[in-house]
Symmetry: C2
């Protein structure tokens, strides 16, 4: 029965699914009626989670109530009982939001970042932006510092400055140098203005479209890179491939977010094969749900919204991504080819652009 549901949802959603995906959605429906929370709990791309919910509704196992909540029918509850599925249980540490590192470990740093970024540019759709919470950004810097990847390092942040991670690293005032490159001039100007006004001389920001190869002087020049790519294969190359290309030598380190909300675990395997074989790096960390995103203003214009089985605003933050750390090993590859426009932001698994 449940394998059949997975098969039908897979055909409807165009995303590979298996039995445990159905179980997770059912487990989520036992604790929330919010579609976006279900996506979060089930760790599925939106098209996948949406297709499962739609199939459950078609089968009379779930229904949409008068407040656009999704609920199990008696038939659905019977199935859940028969299968022994229990409510999703969340044990996330309340102190560190599950990251293992508390964002308030350096209160004066957190405070300064908050005050300086009060008027930050809002995430816009053009560049698949979506900002992580300030607590996430601060935690990224502390995580990097705990691994010895900040102090006295030359650090580049590529195409991820909607999160202001480059700004935060500069404000931490421990790096040797910080270069921020991003396609969005608003962010570049925002960063440079703060660097200038605070007299931070070892950081700068510059406009760059990562579809283009990086200029020579950036290649092989950095100890650490940070990025946050869209989850398509071309974008992965443009952001992570080029990130690795900026590393000066073996032992260079990369950080980036990857989500299961816009790519499946199947795609993740492809990324991992590419990282460990083609690019020649080892993965040292994958911390799920490290990056928590504010719901973007343009949510109702996205394919995700269009695909959703109900049109109701998310009841809380729902979009999370994992935090990857990789280390470049001897013989690692500096990839820096040009990339076309096609499927850069969107493909069959992505939907939140």
């Amino acid at each position: 029965m449940i394998a059949e549901l997975a098969q039908r949802a897979q055909e409807l959603g165009g995303v590979k699914l298996y039995k445990r995906n159905i179980e997770r959605v059912l487990s989520g429906l036992l604790v929330s009626d919010d579609f976006w929370t279900i996506v979060d709990i089930s760790d599925l791309p939106v098209p996948g989670a949406s297709a499962i919910v739609k199939v459950l509704i078609e089968e009379g196992l779930a229904f949409v109530d008068s407040s656009d909540g999704i609920r199990l029918t008696q038939k659905g509850l019977d199935l859940v009982k028969e299968l022994g599925i229990e409510p999703h249980f969340d044990y996330t540490c309340q102190a560190c939001e599950g990251r293992g590192i508390p964002f308030y470990a350096k209160p004066e740093f957190y405070r300064e970042f908050l005050q300086l970024t009060k008027e930050r540019p809002k995430a816009i759709r053009d560049y698949d932006q979506g900002s992580v919470t300030p607590e996430t950004t601060i935690s990224r810097v502390l995580f990097m510092d705990a691994r010895g990847d900040v102090r006295n390092k030359n650090i580049i942040v590529l195409g991820a400055e909607d999160d202001l991670t480059g700004l935060a690293i500069a404000l931490f005032r421990k790096a040797r140098s910080v270069l921020v490159i991003d396609i969005d001039k608003r962010l570049i100007d925002f960063d440079n203005e703060i660097f200038r006004s605070l007299g931070i001389e070892n950081a700068r920001a510059m406009v760059w479209d990562l579809r283009n190869p990086l200029p020579k002087e950036i290649l092989g020049s950095y100890d650490v890179f940070v990025s946050d790519p869209p989850e398509t294969l071309p974008a992965f190359r443009a952001f992570i491939g080029r990130g690795i290309a900026t590393l000066r030598q073996d032992g260079g380190v990369g950080y980036f977010g990857l989500t299961l909300r816009d790519s499946s675990v199947f795609r993740w395997r492809d990324f991992q094969v590419s990282l460990t074989t083609e690019f020649g790096v080892a993965i040292t960390d994958i911390v799920q749900d490290f990056n928590i995103y504010e719901t973007w203003d343009y949510h109702k214009e996205t394919k995700a919204w269009e695909l959703a089985p109900v049109k109701r605003d998310p009841q809380s933050t729902w979009y999370r991504s994992a935090w990857y750390r990789v280390e470049a090993l001897p013989g690692f590859k500096r990839w820096n080819e040009p990339i076309g426009d096609d499927v850069f932001y969107l493909d069959e698994e992505g939907s939140t652009t």
Copy 2:
């Protein structure tokens, strides 16, 4: 200078090393004089960390003080300053010990486990045993439960029962069934006695040497496996390859610990290539320092002790491992070949057996 030190230490220790490894050891020496803490901070195999410390001493950059602590000389301090190396900073969340999930989320479960395991068998050298703290074991079960990998699942624990993870899963009383297999009859008897006395009928334990292929009835029968292999390549196959072979279908899940104290990041890449290409699984989580080990009684009989630049007891827990979670994808491989005795527990990077 520092690249040269790395080169010399690499030759001395027989473990690949690069510049950042030296930096991490120096950073550690700014906060601790305890060799074992330095190994922990530097995330290096013992032979690697030991070789670095020995080279630092030879170069007059460090010395052994009268209480067998390792300290930087003035020359060492000058170098550290010149290189801009700063003291290692630890931001680990005090609430959850950095795991992201607090072990006290289910106090009655934690309490029962502690009381029942007061007289647990001690870790012995014969089987490369080393027990994680009870807080680690409990956190493993909660982590698994948060991912939907316990309730109503058939779970097998392979060759890792020195940590009593199988016992803990059974005590959680949410799995459909639990099978524990381990080479150590003491642990098997310990588990079975508790299962019997508490009337836990869905759990059992049986003696098995993982060098031998698993019996047919175990292959392809489980939803989730848990293991904790020695970090040699043959042992990785025996524990993780066979673990994957126990999985019933796509979407099956595996958990295991891997450390950087007994294998390098280079070896990790080999493991990751093997997982994602040969075995056909995706890696969904790598949580560093999740597993904290009690220092074993036989520490002074190990190669690690012999290699250590000073013979002094560890000043605190120092051996940690990362917690991996993998998901089996369509076409995953059930590996179940026999394995020889050679280099099962020890090789050039391993030393704590």
